[in-house]
């Protein structure tokens, strides 16, 4: 093949350009830390990366949901704990009142006054809230559900039986609220009766109230147990989700991050090639026969 100087300079320019393009792309992947900068770099890997990112984002949302569910249930747990303490105290008073014989009516009435305080306190606990949202009002979280009443059953409930559901994993739901009326009704009624019987000095009836208080305590404790079990479930799910996040991050990174060792060594090879092509081009373009003719 006949070679002209123009061909040499064209070839030199073309090769320099393609070497520089390769150098630039390696440089880009090193400085951004990402192997993928456009869909066409690796279409399948880019689609995978997008899916990983979406899964990671969804996972973060689930973690936030679990955090918020946990704080709701912790608040529920501590409210139920207080309700338990109230009932425990009511039980002690009931035991005193049931001993009856040695007590004067005014002694009984002072016990009754304390039980009345406990009843009022139970009303406050039943209206407990987290960030303004009532824990035991079903879905009607903006309004106090309980009011102590002067007649049996000793309270009025204005909440509903709605359940508050949270999605804590794909299509996995958790009911975070504890039904208010079912949990607190026995406690209200038991204390209401206990107070009235103490005030009336009726020791026999107070003995009967004792078992009612026990049952109410039982109801509160089993509600607490359920909350505790759910919190455990959330905690386990949280652990699993966090691990999954780490794995997904790892997969995404493996998929789209630059392998630095490889990229840097390729870069230095490419750099050498580029320099060599510059030097060779410079030498090949310069001379012609004219340099040697006088």
């Amino acid at each position: 093949m006949r070679i002209t100087h123009r061909m040499i300079s064209d070839t030199t320019i073309r090769n320099l350009r393609s070497n520089l393009t390769r150098l630039e792309s390696l440089h880009n992947s090193i400085t951004t830390g990402k192997r993928l900068s456009r869909p066409s770099d690796d279409p399948a890997a880019v689609a995978r990366s997008l899916t990983y990112s979406a899964d990671i984002a969804a996972g973060e949302a689930y973690l936030r949901t679990m955090d918020s569910a946990t704080s709701w249930m912790s608040a529920t747990d501590s409210a139920l704990d207080q309700a338990g303490n109230v009932l425990q105290r009511a039980r002690e008073l009931a035991v005193q009142g049931a001993n009856g014989g040695s007590m004067t009516p005014s002694d009984m009435q002072s016990l009754g006054a304390e039980v009345d305080q406990l009843l009022q306190q139970l009303g406050v606990i039943g209206n407990a809230s987290l960030r303004g949202q009532r824990l035991f009002a079903g879905q009607d979280i903006d309004n106090d559900p309980f009011a102590v009443s002067a007649v049996l059953p000793g309270y009025t409930y204005t909440g509903d039986n709605g359940q508050m559901r949270r999605e804590y994993d794909v299509n996995a739901y958790l009911i975070i609220n504890t039904p208010g009326e079912a949990t607190f009704a026995p406690a209200f009624t038991a204390q209401f009766n206990l107070r009235d019987h103490l005030n009336a000095g009726n020791a026999t009836a107070v003995t009967g109230d004792l078992s009612e208080v026990d049952q109410a305590l039982e109801t509160i404790l089993s509600a607490r147990a359920e909350v505790g079990a759910k919190m455990n479930r959330v905690e386990a799910a949280q652990g699993r989700q966090e691990l999954l996040q780490v794995n997904l991050e790892g997969l995404r990174s493996k998929n789209e991050d630059t392998d630095f060792a490889e990229a840097v060594s390729k870069f230095s090879v490419q750099e050498t090639v580029y320099k060599a092509s510059l030097e060779a081009g410079g030498k090949a373009i310069q001379p012609s026969l004219l340099d040697y003719l006088r």
């Binding site: 093949m1 006949r2 070679i3 002209t4 100087h5 123009r6 061909m7 064209d10 070839t11 073309r14 951004t32 990402k34 993928l36 900068s37 456009r38 869909p39 066409s40 770099d41 690796d42 279409p43 399948a44 880019v46 689609a47 990366s49 997008l50 899916t51 990112s53 979406a54 984002a57 969804a58 973060e60 949302a61 689930y62 936030r64 949901t65 918020s68 569910a69 303004g132 949202q133 009002a137 079903g138 879905q139 009607d140 979280i141 903006d142 509903d160 709605g162 508050m164 559901r165 949270r166 999605e167 794909v170 299509n171 739901y173 609220n177 789209e256 012609s288 026969l289 004219l290 003719l293």
Partner: protein
């Protein structure tokens, strides 16, 4: 009978002329060593008729005596088969390059995977709905406001992409119209060159430089549309696009016309002549732009429209089943019907309390509709038919399709480029100017010129002797 010494003077003069022509041609070659489309030229030096011609009355000499040389012909080194091949491949190369350009623009617009593309905005969108599901009460107005704002970020990004897809197509259309104008100008140029070449070649000379210019013009034309050319006996050429004659020798040209097509956004259709049939563009630059404008980009436009419409329909259906914080039924959450028009209902923008997160009127802690809307992330059914891809799936496959389309056209373009490069080298190898060669030729012609000059002075001395030195014996 002998030959006059004056005969030698003429012969030496012809030799000087012939060698000087060689130097002139060499000089022209050197001057055009870097001219695009220039083919190196060669002078053919031929011997003149020897003396004497056969005949009854021929002079009685020892034999035929040569009469020297003249520059017979100046030719350009060119291979028309190589030209034809180059033009076909260059057309295909610019077809692929134009499609690749458009696809790369689409890639830039989508800005995936590292930029803030739709995928991250979809993630954010579902994240804020999740926040709302955790805190659906009327008092959580900030959460509702972020739902509105994040949804607006998503819809404006979809709008922007839809608009930019439109811009790409409009840009391609403008380029097509410009290309058509350029092609018509090139046709006219060829017609004019044809006329000049015919005039020159009537005299028996070769119009080398003008032919080079005509070939270069044809090269440029072949990048716009696929052309073939045939040379007529008078030296003019006909330029054809399939069976449609763009340039008819020295007679006429037919322009391509860009006719706006109202049925295709007013984009131009290309016809052969005004009111003529569709131009047969072949595999070429203009055809590449048309493919990008009418097939490639619309494909992504359609995908994005489907994604937007499905999101609108599914979200609105679910939202309509809900109740806002005032206990009123949910209004449409999104308005619009496609990627260009999707937006958040302005009433909801003005009052985020109108977001219907609850499926029970007046139930402030109820988040069931919000949960349903979040569920769209993993399944569009219900409310859409089973098998409807989610926004994420549809968008990811659109990005993946774009990636492989771009990759394919890029490979096609670079393969084709390499082919054109190879053919260019072969053309260069044949037609290019080599300075080494020219330097050698220069030397050769110069030496011959010097020698011819010496011959001339020899004859001069002979004549001097004869004229001034003869018949002066004893003087």
């Amino acid at each position: 009978m002998s030959i006059s010494p004056f005969f030698g003077l003429d012969m030496a003069l012809r030799a000087l002329h012939a060698q000087q022509t060689g130097i002139d041609v060499t000089s022209h070659n050197v001057a055009n060593a870097n001219t695009e489309g220039y083919s190196r030229q060669n002078v053919t030096i031929v011997t003149t008729e020897p003396f004497a011609s056969p005949g009854m009355n021929r002079p009685a000499s020892a034999g035929q005596i040569g009469t020297g040389s003249i520059a017979g012909d100046i030719q350009r080194a060119r291979d028309i088969f190589l030209d034809t091949q180059w033009r076909i491949e260059a057309g295909t190369a610019s077809n692929a390059a134009n499609r690749n350009d458009a696809l790369e623009q689409v890639e830039v617009i989508l800005d995936e995977p590292q930029g803030v593309g739709l995928s991250s905005l979809f993630n954010e969108y579902y994240r804020v709905w999740n926040e709302l599901s955790n805190d659906p009460s009327a008092h959580a107005l900030p959460v509702r406001t972020t739902v509105v704002q994040q949804s607006l970020s998503l819809t404006t990004a979809i709008n922007r992409i839809a608009r930019q897809f439109g811009d790409i197509r409009t840009g391609l259309d403008a380029e097509v119209v410009t290309d058509v104008g350029e092609l018509n100008a090139l046709s006219t140029e060829i017609l004019q060159l044809n006329e000049t070449i015919v005039q020159i070649e009537l005299t028996g000379q070769r119009a080398n430089d003008l032919r080079d210019r005509r070939d270069a013009t044809l090269d440029r034309m072949s990048q716009l549309v696929q052309v073939t050319s045939t040379e007529n006996a008078d030296g003019s050429i006909n330029v054809l696009m399939g069976a449609q004659v763009l340039v008819n020798g020295t007679t006429s040209t037919t322009d391509l016309v860009a006719v706006p097509n109202a049925g295709n956004n007013g984009f131009a259709d290309i016809t052969f002549g005004s009111g003529g049939p569709a131009a047969t563009l072949g595999s070429s630059g203009i055809a590449g732009r048309l493919t990008a404008r009418d097939t490639l980009v619309p494909k992504y436009q359609a995908s994005l429209n489907t994604i937007a419409l499905n999101l609108i329909t599914a979200t609105n259906t679910l939202h309509a089943a809900g109740f806002d914080v005032n206990g009123n039924p949910g209004q449409p959450f999104f308005t619009g019907t496609d990627a260009a028009t999707i937006s958040v209902n302005t009433a909801i923008q003005a009052d985020p309390a109108l977001i219907a997160a609850s499926d029970t009127a007046g139930s402030s802690g109820n988040n069931e509709v919000a949960l349903d809307i979040i569920r769209l992330r993993t399944s569009m059914s219900p409310p859409l038919p089973v098998g409807t891809p989610t926004s994420e799936t549809a968008y990811n496959s659109m990005v993946a399709a774009l990636g492989s389309d771009t990759r394919t056209t890029r490979n096609e373009a670079s393969t084709q480029d390499a082919l054109v490069e190879l053919l260019t080298r072969r053309r260069q190898s044949l037609s290019g100017v080599s300075l080494d060669e020219e330097a050698t030729n220069l030397l050769r012609y110069q030496r011959a010129y010097e020698a011819a000059a010496r011959v001339l002075s020899t004859y001069d001395e002979i004549l001097d002797k004869l004229i001034n030195g003869t018949g002066v014996v004893g003087r």
